[in-house]
């Protein structure tokens, strides 16, 4: 076993992990980046649309207050207000910083970073590079890490002396000294050798959980590792029932079912039609959003060129609304031959426009489905895309309840409430990745002595990791995985029913002992069957949290839709569902009050809007109703760093 000592170990090398690692290194810490795949392949590369930041480059009326409001609305007020506030204020600085590291975003006519429209964002807000923004972000951060290594090589002669990437390594256990983090244990894919990292601080940046579902836009890495590692180390998860089904995944051919079709298609003019050719989204605008969305096709179409005098097309409602609407159309028998609906940009924009704005979508459909999106509509349907729930963290420092354990990006919870707006993920990674790195570094500085790893814990972690290889006659891990995916897809999917979720909980209980007995044939050298066997523990534990939390929350909100409780409940809005591991090793749920929003932030909303979310008592506590709402037009004295971009 190879043993390393670091100040901060960052698990995950996507946007959040790399940004955290850079920040910790800039604060003088020795940092290890653990990367499940090769360096630069993280799931962040899949992000297409852009990074939301209220720079006001395209519409000068934009500022952090508008962005904050949009984020809270999108999350149906289940967000941690403080995270939404920090995110809206700091996102512009984080985007500009990427330019300093060499990123090349698309430009406005006057040479600033261009910004595009997206669902739920009041103004054009997404910094982008065509439809491959995630790749630009990951490459820029990757190259920034390499730049720091070059600097270290020049100054100390050792490129990997203060920041080192451990590619194709997977952590299977966090180790503690008493109640504090002391390190992490894992294996190397290349030869199956074990690695031990001794470190007082760990930043989880492992992304999501999509691989527990059958139809997903997520890659094989998204097995809920960070969620499970946190739980097993004694940390808590919040609101795991909130899962985003992206409205537009490919539905045909079967082998690509679930692969993402960027929301930019709609932001750039694409519309949704059913098999009768009808633009059905006009029938699905919920009351809470009615004032902001167009009622006729004419008004919606005028909005693309004159957004100040027209309301937005309903295709640009937040993702949860659009996904549910597509689901209803298909269920009503108005779906396409392959069980989706049509996404049409071919009849609405020129071939040149589509090729310029959506090159990778063109490429993807041409090569994988033999469909020319400049000439014919795409067939699309909902796909499991993102988990809003995640590790319960302090909104400012990203610290979990376990000292020394931090989480940032998709693996953390709270920022997006019950539903994330498109574009808020890439900016979330940057804002909270930086914060996690910063506060992990400060935590290390505050320690009087370094925690110690116990030999017994390491021995136990080794035994656990070797178990699938030592089973001689157990079940095939691929079979257990397929059953888990089918269960979650069918029983805890986009529309949920009590008896189905109960059936899911029972099925998961049946899978748990079977998982413990899976057998991975073959040896330790780059053995995918073995790796999957170990990932299964995480997927099962996280799925249990999702199913149990979904059963508990008796309302419909964002990424949690109950057929038996179809309405939002102001009482349930006040509650976070907190998940932990009980003494029996299984997930347990408890209710905890949602932090109360500060009055100055509440004042950014009109009372009529707050009525849709708050309880009568909360409304009674608000200042006198005669007050005009604070208009978030940049005239206020309090400005975030992002407010003065115009």
């Amino acid at each position: 076993m190879d043993t390393y000592e670091y100040d901060v170990v960052v698990i995950g090398a996507g946007g959040a992990g790399l940004r955290a690692a850079i920040e910790a290194r800039l604060h003088g810490k020795r940092v290890a980046i653990i990367c499940k795949s090769l360096f630069g392949k993280a799931h962040t590369v899949m992000a297409e649309g852009g990074a939301a930041a209220a720079m006001g480059n395209v519409n000068p009326n934009d500022n952090w207050m508008v962005h904050f409001r949009d984020t809270m609305r999108g999350g149906k007020f289940l967000n941690h207000f403080r995270m939404a506030e920090l995110h809206a204020k700091e996102a512009p600085d984080r985007v500009w910083e990427l330019e300093q590291w060499g990123a090349l975003f698309d430009r406005t006519k006057d040479g600033k970073i261009s910004q595009r429209n997206f669902g739920g964002h009041e103004y054009p807000r997404l910094a982008h590079v065509g439809d491959r923004t995630g790749l630009e972000l990951i490459r820029t951060l990757q190259q920034a890490v390499v730049g720091l290594q070059q600097q270290d090589a020049r100054e100390t002669g050792d490129a990997e002396g203060s920041i080192k990437v451990f590619a194709e390594h997977t952590v299977t256990r966090l180790l503690k000294d008493g109640d504090r983090i002391a390190g992490a244990f894992g294996y190397r894919r290349e030869d199956g050798g074990f690695v031990l990292f001794k470190a007082p601080a760990v930043v989880l940046a492992t992304g999501g959980i999509g691989k527990s579902f059958k139809v997903t836009s997520n890659s094989w890495e998204y097995t809920g590792d960070g969620h499970a590692l946190a739980l097993l180390a004694g940390a808590t998860l919040i609101n795991m029932e909130c899962i985003q089904f992206h409205p537009t995944g490919m539905v045909w051919p079967p082998s690509v079912k679930g692969i993402l079709v960027t929301e930019s298609v709609r932001g750039d003019g694409g519309v949704l039609r059913n098999s009768e050719g009808k633009r059905f989204m006009f029938d699905y605008v919920p009351d809470v959003f009615r004032p902001q969305y167009a009622e006729t096709e004419e008004e919606a179409d005028r909005w693309y060129t004159d957004p100040d005098n027209n309301r937005r097309p309903p295709e640009l409602l937040p993702r949860d609304e659009v996904a549910r609407s597509i689901n209803s159309e298909v269920k009503a028998g108005r779906g396409t031959p392959h069980g989706g609906v049509y996404l049409d940009i071919a009849s609405r924009r020129s071939k040149e426009f589509i090729l310029k704005r959506l090159p990778s979508m063109y490429h993807q459909f041409k090569e994988l489905a033999d469909v020319d999106i400049t000439a014919e509509p795409m067939e699309i349907g909902p796909t499991c895309h993102y988990v809003m729930g995640g590790v319960e963290v302090d909104p400012d420092t990203q610290a979990s309840i376990v000292p020394g354990l931090y989480a940032a990006g998709e693996v953390s919870g709270g920022m997006h409430g019950s539903n994330r707006l498109g574009g808020n993920s890439l900016s979330d990674l940057l804002v909270f990745g930086r914060r996690a790195g910063l506060y992990a570094a400060e935590y290390v500085d505050s320690l009087a002595a370094r925690p110690a790893v116990s030999d017994a814990d390491v021995t136990a972690a080794e035994a656990e990791a070797l178990a699938p290889l030592e089973q001689s006659s157990g079940e095939n891990p691929y079979t257990v995985h397929a059953e888990l995916q089918q269960t979650m897809n069918d029983l805890v999917g986009i529309i949920r029913r009590e008896h189905e979720m109960q059936a899911a909980v029972e099925k998961l209980a049946e899978l748990a002992p079977r998982r413990e007995k899976v057998a991975a044939a073959g040896g330790r050298i780059f053995n995918p069957g073995w790796h999957l066997s170990l990932d299964l523990r995480n997927m099962l534990l996280v799925s249990e949290c999702v199913a149990k939390a979904a059963l508990e929350r008796q309302e419909s909100r964002g990424g949690h839709t109950r057929e038996d409780y179809p309405e939002m409940s102001a009482e349930w809005r006040k509650i976070n569902l907190v998940c932990s591991v009980g003494p029996d090793g299984h997930a347990q749920i408890k209710r905890q009050p949602l932090p109360k929003m500060r009055p100055d932030l509440l004042a950014l909303f009109e009372r009529s809007e707050l009525k849709k979310y708050l309880t009568e008592e909360e409304l009674a506590d608000l200042p006198a109703p005669s007050d005009a709402p604070a208009a978030a037009t940049g005239t206020e004295t309090e400005k975030g760093t992002g407010a003065d971009a115009s």
Partner: protein, 249 residues
């Protein structure tokens, strides 16, 4: 539409290995990676293969299919006849770890040798101004998904282990060109491209362009313009003659 396809997949490690025969089910619309996954799930659970996004965006599943460097996820089964045997082998230029997985650390070492972006020191965040037309040149190269198919196919290193030391390969020479064309990069890169990273080895056979899954015109848009800028005008005999004549006027 389902049929049984014949596959030959290279299996082995850095010591020893060979082609193994498989007969495997193929369904409508599938790509080669689907078939490899089916082999894992049903016949060879420890078959080693790299993959992530399965949508041609991450560049992990590079291999050689019937001898052509390709992404497994972007090669549709429909391009083969049903009775054709499909042969899948690991990238040839890099050492095998196991089965279809190779040690691509060469590329990461080369990446670290290319000096990072150097912006003007007086420019503050948010003050960057660049025209779209100026960023587009480098943006084409930043589409690169680092699948290393170009590095694998380039004959300078494919069969010449000895050149690996002094040749960065198409991907990283393109990175030099990308930085050189970056509107705000201040570093002089032409000389080091030629003298330290082996631009001169490239004799523009365009093999890299041919295998690029992102259809980046590596040779035409990155390497040739870089070569042209390296060859400073004073060494060009026509320019020299032109200058002489012009001066006589």
């Amino acid at each position: 539409m389902t049929y049984k396809a014949k596959f030959k997949v290279w299996r082995g490690d850095d010591q020893d290995g060979g082609l193994h025969d498989f007969t495997v089910e193929v369904n409508d619309g599938e790509v080669v990676l689907d078939v490899i996954h089916r082999l894992q799930a049903t016949q060879a659970p420890d078959l080693a293969v790299r993959w992530n996004c399965k949508a041609g965006k991450c560049g992990s599943c590079s291999a050689e299919i019937n001898g052509m460097p390709r992404l497994l996820c972007m090669t549709r089964m429909s391009v083969f006849d049903e009775d054709e045997t499909v042969t899948v082998t690991p990238l040839r230029t890099f050492p095998v770890i196991r089965d279809l997985v190779t040690d691509v650390s060469f590329n990461y070492e080369k990446a670290r040798q290319i000096p990072a972006f150097e912006p003007p020191k007086d420019l503050k965040p948010g003050d960057y101004r660049m025209a779209q037309v100026d960023v587009e040149r480098s943006q084409e190269f930043r589409k690169c998904i680092e699948c290393y198919l170009c590095q694998n196919t380039c004959h300078v290193v494919r069969d010449h282990e000895e050149n690996k030391q002094s040749f960065a390969g198409p991907r990283y020479l393109m990175r030099m060109a990308e930085l050189d064309m970056h509107p705000l990069d201040t570093r002089e890169r032409r000389k080091e491209a030629q003298e330290e990273h082996g631009l001169g080895f490239c004799n523009i056979t365009k093999c890299c362009t041919e295998v690029c899954p992102e259809h980046i015109k590596i040779t035409d848009n990155a390497l040739i313009p870089m070569k042209e800028r390296v060859v400073d005008r004073k060494y060009d005999p026509l320019v020299w003659l032109g200058n002489k004549i012009a001066r006589r006027k």
